[in-house]
């Protein structure tokens, strides 16, 4: 099933504004989805019997640069059709602790997204709305800051233990 057909399906269901842009130049074509639609789009892509993306390979949080902002990339795979699809969401460039960039959680669609989103929250500081258990997963619970951000400054010490 090609990308154009997927686009048609999504536009018919959610309207033209759900797809912001598309990337066709690379080895793997990608759809840029509007942030407000990501949960519905994922649900539709998983359940529609023409797409059937029942396997979520990976969720990657990306910091595109201090001036560009954040993004979340979803890699879906369809086991019956043996196809792959990349979805991207662009998020606001909020770098303060109080106001994190946020997006809806897709852990109600694929349960595997639960831990992927916890990791994205832990290392990149993306907030996933309606996530069941958004705790840090790899770093200690009381860690300060989000290390994969481009503007992250290494901590000097942790509980009085010097680092570096």
């Amino acid at each position: 099933m090609d990308l154009q057909r997927i686009k048609q399906l999504l536009i018919a269901k959610f309207g033209a504004s759900c797809i912001v842009d598309e990337e066709l130049s690379g080895l793997q074509p990608a759809l840029l989805i509007h942030k407000d639609f990501i949960l519905g789009v994922c649900q539709e892509l998983r359940d529609h019997n023409e797409t059937w993306f029942d396997f979520l390979s990976c969720i990657s949080a990306v910091d595109y640069g201090v001036t560009e902002g954040f993004g979340v990339v979803y890699h879906l795979a369809s086991i019956p059709y043996r196809t792959q699809l990349t979805l991207k969401v662009m998020l606001e460039n909020h770098r303060e602790e109080q106001v994190l960039p946020w997006v809806d959680s897709v852990s109600s669609v694929w349960r595997t997204a639960d831990w992927h989103e916890r990791e994205a929250f832990d290392l990149m500081g993306i907030f996933f709305k309606n996530h069941p258990d958004l705790r840090r997963i790899l770093l200690p619970d009381d860690w300060k800051g989000y290390p994969l951000r481009k503007d992250y400054k290494d901590a000097e010490e942790y509980h009085g233990i010097p680092i570096n």
Partner: protein, 409 residues
């Protein structure tokens, strides 16, 4: 449908990062009078590394198991953003340290496809890569099987598996110079060609190893005590496995023929004949612990078949030649043009993926995300460990076959 379908137009919401932590702490402090929190790990051998399980138990019954990870977090993704591709390969070795060859193979394949040289890699190099990867797959599965025996209470299979694994370690050390963390597969080629006589020694190993597999079956696979401990325990239905992103032997044990070596047909695998073993529920329910164990045993047998075919071709049509240089294709500077690419490959534990973002200006990637199969396979543990016995929790955890180096990265 129009734009009015936009459900939420606010750009900022109050992002309370501490709410989930508070809810978790309250839940842990509000357990019932009959319940007890048992802490398993992070130093206990049955957790296969530094995994900590917080178990809410009622007597012998596990009500809920909460995994805590990160004790082995080594910042792979942050490191990969600060050095070039060749320097990152040793880091990939240390992710799933029981299957280093497979890790670097996946990583290198992704970089080669981004560079556009994946089709030009000489056949001999591809076959050597497959050969060492399958040797490493056997070694990894031998550890999974051996330590699983120990989890259940059988000590002998552990010693037998380690004895056979040591032969593979010695051979790979001979080829690469290192026993576990090889840095052998490079972008565009290999560190060295195989040492002279490697193929013959491989053949000797296969001849030695095949009867040992029969012994292993007699000792463990068909052992009634082992079957009683593993059959009907931790049955994972297929739709749950897919929904939780399980892959590799976990997914195949639930009855799905899904092997990326066949799905994606990468490297030399399309030319090689092998079967994909799946769980059949022979001893109990489909997708139980015994099925997961059996899939690994069968995969070892398939890997032996692959190794035999590789040696056959490496000794004849792809024979060693004096002018063959495994580093001839290695680029002086690896800088793919600006793009992003997700590569996936079948590791012993499941689907290993790397997601690269490059900006085309430097030979350093902007972002590398690693998708570890153990990480996803482990995430199904809380689902499987509801209202089971504590002893069965250990059996289930062992059957998932995690490597903490990859869970934490």
């Amino acid at each position: 449908m129009t734009d009015s379908k936009i459900v939420d137009t606010e750009t900022t919401i109050k992002t309370d990062t501490q709410a989930a932590l508070k809810a978790y702490q309250e839940r842990m402090s509000a357990i019932g009078p009959e319940e007890m929190i048992i802490n398993i790990g992070p130093q206990h051998p049955s957790t296969h590394g530094v995994l900590r399980l917080e178990v809410i138990s009622d007597g012998e019954i596990v009500k809920e198991a909460v995994p805590h990870m990160g004790y082995l977090h080594r910042c792979f993704e942050k490191h990969a953003e600060s050095m070039n591709y060749g320097k990152t390969i040793p880091f990939t070795d240390r992710m799933d340290y029981l299957a280093s060859m497979n890790n670097s193979h996946a990583f290198v394949m992704g970089v080669e496809r981004m560079l556009g040289i994946a089709e030009e890699i000489p056949k001999r190099i591809e076959y050597i890569r497959v050969l060492v990867c399958e040797l490493n797959r056997i070694a990894s599965h031998l550890i999974a099987i051996g330590t699983y025996g120990i989890d259940i209470g059988a000590f002998t299979p552990f010693m037998w598996c380690f004895r056979d694994r040591e032969h593979i370690m010695n051979m790979l050390e001979w080829a690469s110079g290192s026993r576990m963390l090889y840095n052998y597969i490079w972008v565009g080629g290999l560190f060295y060609d195989l040492p002279v006589g490697f193929e013959e020694r491989c053949k000797e190993f296969v001849a030695y190893f095949k009867p040992k597999l029969v012994e292993l079956d007699e000792l463990l696979t068909n052992n009634q005590i082992f079957i009683s401990r593993t059959a009907n325990i931790g049955a994972l239905p297929l739709e749950v496995a897919i929904n939780y992103g399980c892959s590799g032997p976990m997914l195949r044990a639930s009855g799905l023929k899904w092997d990326l070596r066949r799905v994606d047909d990468y490297s030399a695998y399309p030319e090689i004949d092998f079967e994909i073993p799946i769980g059949k529920g022979e001893m109990g329910t489909l997708g139980d612990c015994w099925d997961r164990y059996k899939v690994r045993v069968d995969e070892i047998k398939e890997s032996v078949k692959i190794i035999e075919q590789c040696i056959e071709r490496l000794q004849h049509e792809l024979k060693r030649r004096p002018d063959f240089d495994p580093r001839a294709m290695v680029p002086k500077k690896v800088s793919p043009k600006a793009q992003d690419y997700y590569v996936r490959a079948e590791n012993p534990k499941g689907e290993l993926g790397f997601y690269f973002i490059t900006d085309g200006r430097l030979d350093i990637p902007r972002r590398v995300k690693a998708r570890g199969p153990s990480f996803n396979n482990l995430s199904v543990l809380p689902e499987l460990s509801k209202n089971i016995l504590i002893a069965d929790l250990i059996a289930i955890l062992g059957s998932i076959d995690i490597v903490l180096g990859e869970v934490d990265r």
